[in-house]
């Protein structure tokens, strides 16, 4: 399976892409997928979302199609 990764705001500059698609397993987690892509990534300040829902970095991907990397929000 594959999953599309979206990086927003500062995460885009940190990771160097705004969207990319990678291979993965259902047992992968946001953390394993992102660290495979960028082994030095620092995830502490970032949140993950699967198909538009916040999840922990260690939730299994399941059949999610979209993984988003979200810096602290600042709308309004």
């Amino acid at each position: 399976m594959t999953i599309t990764i979206l990086a927003f705001a500062q995460a885009r500059s940190l990771f160097g892409f705004s969207t990319t698609t990678v291979s993965c397993d259902a047992a992968d987690t946001p953390r394993t997928v992102v660290l495979r892509l960028v082994p030095t990534a620092e995830l502490t300040a970032l949140r993950a979302a699967l198909d538009c829902e916040y999840v922990s970095w260690d939730s299994p991907l399941g059949d999610a199609k979209e993984l988003a990397i979200l810096p602290p929000v600042s709308g309004g």
């Binding site: 927003f8 705001a9 538009c52 829902e53 916040y54 988003a68 810096p71 929000v73 709308g75 309004g76």
Partner: protein, 128 residues
């Protein structure tokens, strides 16, 4: 509760007030405006981006949760994206309710949640 969520790259145009019933007693509107001074630096504006599909979903859930605590009849939410110059609005929210207290509590809590939980970001780095 009727809810409308709009994201727009164009300047926000405040929609005319349209009362859904004869029981609306309060209309509360908030405009968030880009200021020149932010954390001691002088800005010309701010750049906004959103993860729009998720922002809609998260906002809708907050509308429902807040509406069950503070019943309101209508929420109109408009967030501007892209470059917003100083003095222009990045955010417009209108809440209609029978009594003012519900509209105040709903709107105040909504903006707090917007600023902590809805995937929208501002940055001072990119000009027009």
């Amino acid at each position: 509760m009727e809810t409308i969520i709009t994201f727009t790259e164009a300047p926000i145009v405040i929609p005319p007030l349209n009362l859904p019933s004869r029981e609306i007693g309060a209309s509360l509107e908030f405009l968030g405006i880009v200021r020149e001074l932010e954390k001691d630096s002088v800005l010309k504006g701010l750049n906004y981006e959103a993860y729009e599909s998720m922002a809609r979903r998260v906002l809708t859930r907050h509308f429902e949760e807040l509406g069950s605590r503070h019943p309101c009849e209508q929420v109109l939410f408009i967030h501007r994206l892209g470059w917003v110059p100083v003095g222009e609005a990045s955010l417009f929210v209108r809440v209609l309710s029978s009594h003012r207290q519900e509209a105040f509590l709903f709107l105040d809590a909504l903006i707090t949640r917007l600023k902590t939980d809805v995937p929208i970001w501002k940055s001072a780095t990119a000009g027009p």
